[in-house]
Amino acid sequence: MKTKITWCLAIISIMILSACSDSETLKGDTEVQPAVQASTVNYQQKVNQDVKRFREFFASKFPNIELEEFVNGAYAIDAATREQWLEIEEFPPYEIPVEEGQEFFEAPFANGKTYADCFENGGIGIRQNFPYFDEKTNQVITLELAINQCREANGEQPLDYGQGELASISAYMANESRDNVFDIKVNSEAAYKAYMAGKQFFYSKRGQLNFACADCHLKISGSLLRADILSPAIGHPTGMPVYRSNWGELGTIGHRYRECNKNVRAEPLDYQSESYRNLEFYQTVMSNGLVVNGPSSRK
């Protein structure tokens, strides 16, 4: 009886798998299977498998692009706009925000302490360690959340998450971490759950226009949507925060997530909502092995 059921399940899953397209199979599991013997499950290994398949997908979609290039978004894959972008990067529009970010970063709080007191290594060269899963509070901590937690711990008001002062501080911290390699860990069942929630979000259709992140940034990445070349999802968080000329200022990754949600006529979530933090966690894990190159500029 038991073997019969197992066989049925096996056949059904083969049927489902073979009916799926490339990007569908890439999606794989999005449900966390309850761990029977929690201690024996190697979550990092499971996640590394995902990272490998994700890379292989983009490597076969863009066979002439080196892995390291994917930190440059759409400019990694489009020679025409890349030229203009390289020119912009000679006098980058984020230079002033980075300088301001440094001033904000170094200015003492009312109690005399500074941001440096909140972070490892005085906050210098640590961008690649974010977001991380905090086992004590059971949640994903992004750099922006940590900046505001630092303020609140020192009796200061939190800053707005999307643009402005916080984005500038984040830009300064990224700039001080350039070329450091992302290696985000997923070492526990709780961390894996957060990762899987992010993955689920990435592949879920939403909004009146019925798009998943994966539709635009995986399946059809590289094609034109109106006048925009859709960037591949691999490397998405590395260049954050990003200066977009149509924003006219720097914006955090949360700002970008909200804009992409609005574009498909979905209700954008709150900045630093659990879902967005899990999404950023997932996206950054998918970019493990790439370097910090933020802040960056986009047309």
Partner: protein
């Protein structure tokens, strides 16, 4: 709902007629409906078909979907075309084309 139906029918006329080699003048009887369909197809807040499709006369067109040309020849089955626009998922379950009718877009 009724509004959507009207939008869809004029859209279809446009898709079928305007994108085959028939000129507007030849289809004078339909031209009002055609113009309406075209307006919807090109309007970013409505069809925004240009986001993904090449359509004769459009600008800043995407390359995500196939060019909409010679539709009459390629879609002898009109129902399949209607389905494509009302709910493309019924023609291809993994499609990324928005379900315009089903989601009342």
């Amino acid at each position: 709902m009724k509004g959507t139906r009207i939008l869809l029918s004029s859209l279809l006329v446009t898709v079928i007629a305007a994108f085959s080699s028939i000129t507007l003048a030849q289809e004078s009887g339909l031209s009002a409906e055609l113009a309406q369909g075209k307006a919807i197809a090109f309007d970013r807040r409505k069809g925004n078909c240009l986001a993904c499709h090449y359509i004769q006369g459009g600008a800043l067109m995407g390359t995500t979907g196939p060019g909409l040309v010679a539709m009459k020849q390629r879609f002898p089955d009109r129902q399949r075309l209607i389905t494509q626009v009302t709910d493309a998922r019924l023609n291809n379950k993994n499609t990324i084309m928005p379900p315009f009718g089903a989601h009342g877009i």
